[in-house]
Symmetry: C2
Subunit: 416 residues, 2 copies
C-alpha cells in the first residue's frame, strides 16, 4: 500500500510555519498500519497543486491532503480538486446545516463566503468537521495508473485536521483496506542515554518475536521505547506486546517513569494528590523551569505550594537560610547547599516534599573542578533529605531541561 | 528561478522528528531572493531518492538536499547521488585532512567509516563542514531539461546544515545567479492582535513603495512585521526600508519592543545591566514561567535576584505578606493583591524592580465576574507601583505565555 501526504500552503514555504501536520499525520498513519512513503509541500498555486496531484496519482494508492480549503480567496484547493476530478460543485444540505449550527452557537450569521463552504465536488464523500466549517472531501478515483486511488482533502488548521483524521479518515481507511492489527505501547525512560539503554536491553531485544518491532525515540532527557506488534489475532498481539513490556520493565524498572502520553509532571501530580501530600521547589540553576512544568498541569493548586527561585547567593542566604560558611566553603553548587535549600523551603512553604537544584547551566561559570553541566539535586521528604550529583552537557537549555526531568523523577521514585 | 528542497530521512516519515530543516531552509532562501516552490520528504530508500532526484531535475534549476550523508550504512544519499550523476567516488585529500583534525581535536582516532567520508563523487565541488565530518556536495548538471541544474547535498543535522547554508550554499547561489538585492527588517510587536494592528497601519501599508512588501508573522502573544525591500540599488533599498520602518515606529511605538531576532527577556536584561538595576518576580498564574524566560538568558545573574512562585493564598500571605483581608475581600486575582505581592518581593529580594502576576489561567477556576483569562500584572519600580488588568483567552498554555510577555513589556517600557 503506497501512501503519501500533500501539505498545501504558502506559509509552509517561506518558513513562517513549521510543518507539524506532516509529522503528526505520518505518525498516526504509521501507527495505524499505513506507513507513509513521501511528503510533498506545495504553495497555494493552482498549477503546482494540479501537477502534484497528477504525480501522486501515478505513485500512490492513498493520497492525504491538508490545507487550502478555508473560505477565503487564497484557498484554492477545492477548485483545483474539482478540475482534477472533473467534478462540478453541488450544494450539500447536510454540510450547510452543520455550518448554520456552527455559526448559531457562536451568535453569528452565515456569510456568503461561509455558505460556499457547503458547496462540495460532486461524487466525493463529504466528511464532517466537528470544530470548523471546512468539510473534508473523500474521493475514490477509478482507472488510471492504480485501479483505485483514494484522495482525501482535509483542513490545514492542525486541530481540525487531527479531529478529522482520528474520527473519519483513519477509520475509513482501516475499513477499506483491513491492514493487519497493530498494537503499540511506549515505555518512557529518564536518566539513561540511548546507547547505554540499547546495551542494557540488547539480549531482550534480540529475543523479541518477529512480529514485534522496537523503536528508540530519543528527546532531550527522555528516551521513549515504542513496541509495535502486528498480526491478525488481535488478542494474541496485545498479549505478546504486554508480555514483552513486562520483561522490559523487569530489566530497567529504575528508568521507566510512565507510558505513552504520560509526562513526569502529571505523574508526580497524580501521586501527590493520591497521597494528600504537598510539594514546593527551591530552584537555582533551573530558574523556575520546574515550577513552570508543575504549574502547566491544570489542578496543580491541589498539591503545589510554590517555588523559591534563588538565583543569587544573597537570596539563598536571606530567604533559604543557607549558611554563609557553607556557601563560602562548598560553593552554591554543592551537596550541602542544595540540602539546606530543600530543608528551608520545607518550612517556608509548609510542604511535605521539596526539590532543590543548583548547578552550572552554562555557557559561562564553569571551572576545572566544577565544569559547565555540574548539577546537584536535593530532595527533602517527610522522612529524610538527600542530594545527588549529575554531570550534564554544555547546552544551557538542555542542562535546565535535564535537571528538571531528573529532579521530577527523583521525586516520583520517592513517592512510589 | 525554480528552487526546491528535498529532505531525506526515515525519521521524518514516522513522526519521530518534525521537519524544522525545511522551514529554516525555505525561510533563508526566501530572504536571499530564492523563493522555494516545493518541498519533498523521502525515506532513506535508494529508489525513492533516485526517483525524486529525477523528478526534481525536470522541475527545478536549484535543488537543495539535506540528510542521509552520515557515516553509517543507513545513510545512502551519497551512493545514490553517484548513481544519479554517473560519478565514481574519489578520495579527497582536503576533506580527509579536515576529518583528521576534527577527530584529533576530540582526542579520537579516525575510523574506517569516517575515512570513507572523505570519498567524494568525482566532478562535484566538496563543501567544508566546520562542525561535523560529512562534506557538502555541489553538483552542476549540464544538459537535460534545464540547461544548468544545480544540486547541493548537505547534512541533515540541523546545526551542520545551517552553518553550511549560511557560509557556503547561499553565497555561492548569490554569486552564480545575482538575484536582486533584498533587504529585510522585522519589527516585533507585543500587546496588540494581528487584525487590530492591520487596521491601525492600513494607510501606511497602502502607501508603501511597490518594491517593499509587508508580511504579518503572528505567534502567540507576538506579531512580527517583516518589511522586505528589493531592487538593484542596494543603498536606495536600505534607505527605503529604514524610512518605512521609521514611519511605522511613529504610528505604533507603543507596541514595538524590538527588531529581528530580539527577545523581550534579552532586551529587558540588557536594559537592567545598562542601568545597574536588579529584578525579582512574584508569580502566581505564570507559575515560574517568567523566571524561566529570564534565566534562559546567559549572564542573567548580573541583574536577576529570583522569584517567589506563590501558588496558594497561604504562601501569598506567609511569604509575600498579602493581607488576609485583601485576599478575602478582593480575591487573589486583583489589583490590590498583585500590588502587595510586588512591594513585598521588592523587600524580600532587595530588588529595584518587581513584576507580580495573578490570574485565572484555566481551564477551571473561572467565574462570571472573573472568567478564565482574567489576569492582573503589577509592576513595582524604585518610584512607584501600579497594576493593570488583562483579559486573555481560554487556553492555559497561551494565557501563561501572554501574561509573561505582557509583564516583560511593561517592565521594558518602565525602563526606557
Amino acid at each position: 500500500m503506497k501512501v503519501e501526504i500533500i501539505n498545501i500552503g504558502d506559509e509552509l514555504l517561506i518558513g513562517q510555519v513549521i510543518n507539524t501536520n506532516a509529522a503528526w499525520m505520518a505518525e498516526q498513519l504509521d501507527l495505524s498500519g499505513f506507513p507513509v512513503r513521501l511528503v510533498t509541500v506545495v504553495r497555494d498555486c493552482h498549477e503546482q497543486i494540479l501537477e502534484t496531484l497528477q504525480e501522486a496519482e501515478k505513485r500512490s494508492e492513498v493520497v492525504l491532503i491538508s490545507g487550502g480549503i478555508g473560505p477565503t480567496n487564497d484557498d484554492i484547493t477545492k477548485k483545483t480538486l474539482c478540475e482534477f476530478f472533473q467534478a462540478r460543485l453541488v450544494f450539500d444540505e447536510e454540510a450547510f446545516r452543520d455550518i448554520e449550527i456552527f455559526f448559531a452557537l457562536r451568535g453569528l450569521h452565515v456569510t456568503e463566503l461561509n455558505r460556499q463552504q457547503a458547496d462540495i465536488p460532486e461524487g466525493c464523500i463529504s466528511l464532517p468537521n466537528k470544530i470548523g466549517t471546512a468539510r473534508g472531501m473523500w474521493f475514490e478515483k477509478q482507472g488510471g495508473h492504480n485501479k483505485n486511488s483514494i484522495f482525501v482533502s482535509m483542513p490545514g488548521v492542525p486541530f481540525e485536521m487531527k479531529e478529522m483524521m482520528i474520527n473519519e479518515v483513519i477509520p475509513r481507511l482501516q475499513k477499506k483496506f483491513h491492514p493487519p492489527f497493530l498494537y503499540h505501547k511506549t515505555a518512557l525512560t529518564q536518566g539513561i542515554g540511548e546507547s547505554f539503554l540499547a546495551a542494557q536491553i540488547e539480549a531482550w531485544e534480540n529475543k523479541l518475536p518477529e512480529n514485534i518491532k522496537l523503536a528508540y525515540l530519543p528527546q532531550p532527557g527522555i528516551v521513549r521505547l515504542r513496541l509495535s506488534g502486528s498480526g491478525n489475532n488481535e488478542q494474541r498481539v496485545r498479549q505478546q506486546v504486554n508480555t514483552a513490556l513486562k520483561e522490559l520493565e523487569a530489566q530497567i524498572s529504575d528508568y521507566i517513569f510512565g507510558y505513552d502520553e504520560d509526562t513526569l509532571e502529571e505523574i508526580v501530580g497524580k501521586l501527590l494528590l493520591e497521597k494528600g501530600k504537598t510539594l514546593a521547589t527551591a530552584e537555582s540553576c533551573t530558574g523556575g523551569y520546574i515550577a513552570h512544568l508543575i504549574t502547566s498541569v491544570p489542578g496543580c493548586s491541589g498539591y503545589y505550594r510554590g517555588s523559591l527561585v534563588a538565583y543569587s547567593n544573597e537570596i539563598k542566604e536571606s530567604l533559604l537560610f543557607v549558611s554563609p560558611n557553607i556557601l563560602k566553603k562548598e560553593g552554591a553548587v554543592s551537596e550541602e547547599t542544595t540540602m539546606e535549600m530543600a530543608v528551608a523551603a520545607q518550612t517556608q512553604f509548609d510542604a511535605d516534599y521539596v526539590i532543590a537544584t543548583s548547578g552550572i547551566a552554562g555557557p559561562e561559570g564553569g571551572t576545572v573542578e566544577k565544569p559547565v553541566g555540574t548539577t546537584w539535586i536535593a530532595l527533602a521528604t517527610p522522612d529524610e533529605v538527600f542530594a545527588r550529583k549529575y554531570l550534564f552537557g554544555d547546552s544551557r537549555e538542555r542542562n535546565i531541561r535535564r535537571t528538571a526531568l531528573q529532579a521530577l523523577n527523583m521525586l516520583r521514585k520517592s513517592l512510589i
